[in-house]
């Protein structure tokens, strides 16, 4: 029988290794699956590469990992968070390396990793600072840059509901990077607000199939840092 629910956050993130690439879902610190990302602290894993749209918020989740010196590199589109100091000071000191990637290119590179593609060409960043050093090709008279897939060793994502197969439904703006990150990682872990019985979901209305999800953990949605705006 398939039952992907685990009882604790520690079980949920078990096996994270030093040097791992961890994909962290959510659009910003406001919907980061922070309980999962800070549970990584309990694993002792260091030298992590974090792929996220941003660099975490004030104190929880990614910011806590940076503050605890667990992060070696961040791949993101928007390395700025008002009032956040964890990344800013680690970046200034050189402790954390930064790869800035246009937001759509992050999700497309993740999708390429998920879909078994070897890379793709995009116009985005061609002829700009972020396109420097990238292989460039003229396609239909316009410059395109080559982008490589991103795969994660682990994905930490958020969802509204899950069943025991790991089928997930997300709510409103909180879908964002979560499905593609689940698809792009070797081990994908979802923090959900609620478990539902198998068969609860309408078959045409699942946002991320259980085949992409390895572990599910219910996290009390009450703590403000999980449900509140950043």
């Amino acid at each position: 029988m398939i039952d992907k629910q685990v009882a604790s956050l520690e079980e949920a993130v078990a096996g994270a290794k030093d040097g791992a690439t961890v994909l962290v879902g959510g659009f910003s610190a406001g919907d980061e699956p922070a309980a999962l990302s800070e549970a990584l602290l309990s694993t002792g894993a260091r030298d992590l590469t974090i792929v996220n749209n941003g660099v975490g918020g004030l104190a929880r989740g990614i910011a806590a990992l940076i503050a605890a010196h667990r992060v070696r590199k961040i791949v993101c589109s928007y390395p700025r968070f008002v009032g956040g100091t964890a990344f800013a000071s680690a970046y200034k000191s050189g402790e954390v390396a930064l790869e800035v990637v246009p937001q759509g290119t992050i999700s497309e590179r993740l999708r390429a990793g998920a879909a078994g593609l070897g890379g793709f060409y995009t116009k985005v960043s061609a002829g700009t600072l972020l396109g420097e050093g990238k292989e460039t090709r003229i396609i239909d008279g316009e410059p395109y840059v080559f982008e490589h897939p991103i795969k994660g060793d682990m994905a930490l994502i958020g969802a509204q509901q899950a069943d025991r197969w790991g089928n997930l439904v997300m709510r409103h703006s909180r879908r964002n990077f979560n499905p593609v990150m689940a698809m792009a990682a070797a081990v994908s872990v979802a923090q959900v607000r609620e478990m539902v019985p198998l068969g609860h979901f309408h078959p045409d209305q699942i946002h991320c199939q259980g085949i992409f999800v390895d572990r599910v953990v219910v996290v009390d949605p009450e703590p403000k840092n999980w449900s509140a705006r950043p």
Binding site: F87, Q103, S107, T128, S173, R229
Partner: protein
């Protein structure tokens, strides 16, 4: 001569959005546009986070924290509004499905080059977000900005000084002083504020301007600045 304030710039740009247009609004002045779209036009607003068909900002007691826009501010759905994941959101943006992206900018060049993501300050990490995707992908890029910097220096330049977001992408510029089209023959002034003569406008613009034969004066309503 009174320059348009930020809300009046948004008002002016809003008048040029047609009924049925699919539009992405950037942060800053563009975010003020929804209040000024003529009521008889149905305009569909998209945001990078994966939402289309956004409605007005909800009252504080009606905020659903799961409905937010690309600035992570609370928003709402209009009937027909929907969500999708990030790969579909940027397929929409990069694939030319949006009619217009209304963006803020630091600088625009006479060729329509856009600089709106990086001031080159080595102390802060450069933050691109979805700026490059929008600049490359939307069918038309329209820029909304103050005509000059706070200390009066031109922002409409022969060549951008800040790192580019994308080359040759801007189609129109709405500023505190004028509405300017980027054309193959250069920058063409379509409208100016009252009591501003062309020489005055050119004096605060580094790039060469020409006056459209259809030039006219902007008649903006009085609007208080809200942000």
């Amino acid at each position: 001569m009174t320059p348009l304030n930020r809300n009046q710039i948004a008002w002016r740009a809003a008048q040029d959005i047609w009924d049925g247009a699919y539009v992405n609004l950037g942060v800053g002045i563009p975010s003020l546009i929804p209040d000024y779209i003529p009521k008889d036009r149905e305009v569909v607003l998209q945001a990078e986070v994966g939402i289309i068909g956004m409605g007005p900002t909800p009252k504080p007691d009606a905020v659903d924290p799961d409905i937010f826009n690309a600035s992570t501010q609370p928003t709402s759905f209009v009937p027909g509004g929907s969500t999708f994941d990030h790969t579909d959101s940027f397929l929409m943006i990069r694939g030319g499905h949006l009619d217009i992206a209304m963006l803020g900018a630091f600088e625009v060049s006479e060729k329509g080059d856009l600089a709106n993501w990086n001031t080159g300050d080595p102390a802060t990490a450069p933050s691109v977000g979805g700026a490059m995707d929008l600049a490359v992908g939307a069918k038309a890029i329209r820029v909304l900005m103050e005509h000059t910097t706070k200390d009066g220096k031109p922002r409409i330049l022969k060549q951008c000084r800040y790192p580019l977001t994308a080359a040759h992408c801007v189609k129109a510029i709405y500023t505190s002083l004028a509405v300017i089209d980027v054309t193959p023959r250069g920058l063409v002034v379509r409208e100016t504020i009252p009591d501003l003569d062309f020489a005055q406008l050119q004096a605060v613009t580094e790039a060469k301007l020409t006056l459209s034969p259809d030039w006219r004066v902007i008649e903006a309503p009085a609007i208080a600045v809200t942000v």
